[in-house]
């Protein structure tokens, strides 16, 4: 049911093949709506999830809630905007790598406007000006290049991912340090992490209220959300007719 992505530029395709030969893990046969089939190491992943949740409940979540209580809303928004602005570089590059010049260009305009008028990215002046965040990343680029599905990995203390999305996760984590250089202080990394966790509180609260098996819920939501992002918010229409197969035939 998943429609194929638009044809990718030939040069990018050749570049991608070299990378995919190293990274591809026989995912071509893993099509289908049951994302549980991509979870080839459920024992490790579930243990990693449980450990992460325990630490999150005891340390990260309370710190994030305290941060939200202490820091005024505009300051908190400024911190989120600052780090998001740095990561616009990553998003813009990946827009171009996917052959989406308009999306890459929109992010470049965001970077220009928010870094100058928005005072080093503290204010998001680009969105009201018509330059919305495109939120591209290297994992989406690999998907556009042809690596559609990948094995599930729950990275301890970090969160859900796939083999395909691991490099992207690392790039996003180190982008601020890479851009600012050796002068980037360690405490800034700490603020980045706390702000990111605080920003995700609404999501995890929703999950905790709705999920009976938060591990399976997180995995399913992660794959579906990535599909949405890969297709830039306009994925092919899924009929969900596979769901009817195992219950219609009675």
């Amino acid at each position: 049911m998943h429609a194929s992505l638009p044809a990718r530029p030939r040069a990018l395709g050749l570049l991608a093949i070299a990378g995919l030969l190293l990274l591809q893990t026989a995912c071509a046969s893993l099509e289908g709506p049951d994302y549980g089939t991509y979870d080839r190491a459920p024992g490790f992943n579930r243990a990693s999830f449980e450990l992460s949740e325990t630490l999150d409940n005891k340390v990260f979540e309370p710190v994030a809630r305290g941060y939200l209580d202490l820091v005024p809303g505009p300051v908190e928004a400024g911190v989120v905007n600052f780090f998001a602005n740095l990561r616009t570089v990553d998003s813009s590059i990946n827009g171009f790598l996917q052959g989406k010049a308009k999306r890459g260009g929109t992010d470049m305009m965001r970077l220009l406007l928010n870094s100058t008028v928005g005072i080093a990215g503290l204010f998001d002046v680009a969105t009201p000006a018509g330059f919305a965040a495109q939120n591209e990343d290297f994992g989406q680029t690999l998907a556009v290049w042809g690596w559609r599905n990948s094995r599930y990995v729950y990275v301890p203390l970090v969160g859900p991912s796939t083999i395909r999305d691991l490099p992207s996760m690392a790039i996003r984590a180190f982008t601020p340090r890479l851009l600012i250089g050796s002068g980037y202080p360690l405490w800034a990394t700490g603020i980045d992490l706390v702000a990111a966790r605080a920003d995700a509180l609404a999501l995890t609260d929703t999950r905790d209220a709705a999920a009976l098996d938060p591990y399976a819920f997180t995995r399913e939501a992660y794959y579906q959300r990535r599909e949405f992002q890969i297709f830039d918010g306009n994925p092919p229409l899924d009929d969900f007719d596979d769901f009817f197969d195992d219950t219609d035939a009675e």
């Binding site: 959300r225 994925p235 009929d239 195992d246 219950t247």
Partner: protein, 210 residues
Amino acid sequence: MKRLLPTHGARASRPRLSGWKALFGFLLWSFSYLGTAPGWAAADDVAASVERFHAVLIEAMQTEGFGQRKTLLDPAVAEFFDLGTVARISLGPTWRSLAEERRAAFVALIQRLIIATYADRFDSYSGQSFVQVETVAASTGPVVKTVLNRTNDEPVNLDYYFRSGKAFNVVADGVSDLSLRRADYAGIIRAAGYDGLVADIEASIAEFGD
């Protein structure tokens, strides 16, 4: 033997329409057909159904008290959702192993869960609004694409999947409610069986509104 098709003679005896009249007649027939074709009528019906459901959600957001919101949402959820399909798909193959009365009990349980979930999540109003974008066709039926606009947050795309005139799936920014439910329940059924799942859903409903 009775003829079902007219003979050449019968056809020749009918008055012949001029070209423009024939064209006009064809167009008139086409438009009247389009207006009454099941697909078009269904598209209008489901769009109106979504409109009514959204109006209830806005009213729920403006209503104080979890119990009052549940009372408000109860008939709307029953009218809007194909609860039998939601329950059946959520359970997957386990559905087939259930007797009729257990299936009916599970449908009622899902209804209570959906009402409690909506009453819990749609609990405050700060200028939110729903906008219908378009209705498109999927093999299972029409899909109504809408957007939930929020004042201090990014808009959310909400797609409603219909089958036989009722919604069976809501997809929010690409994440399917039915898929999540199905994946969520599969793990519980594997670990604790159907009865364990029912107990967990009951516990989940009891926690809402706390």
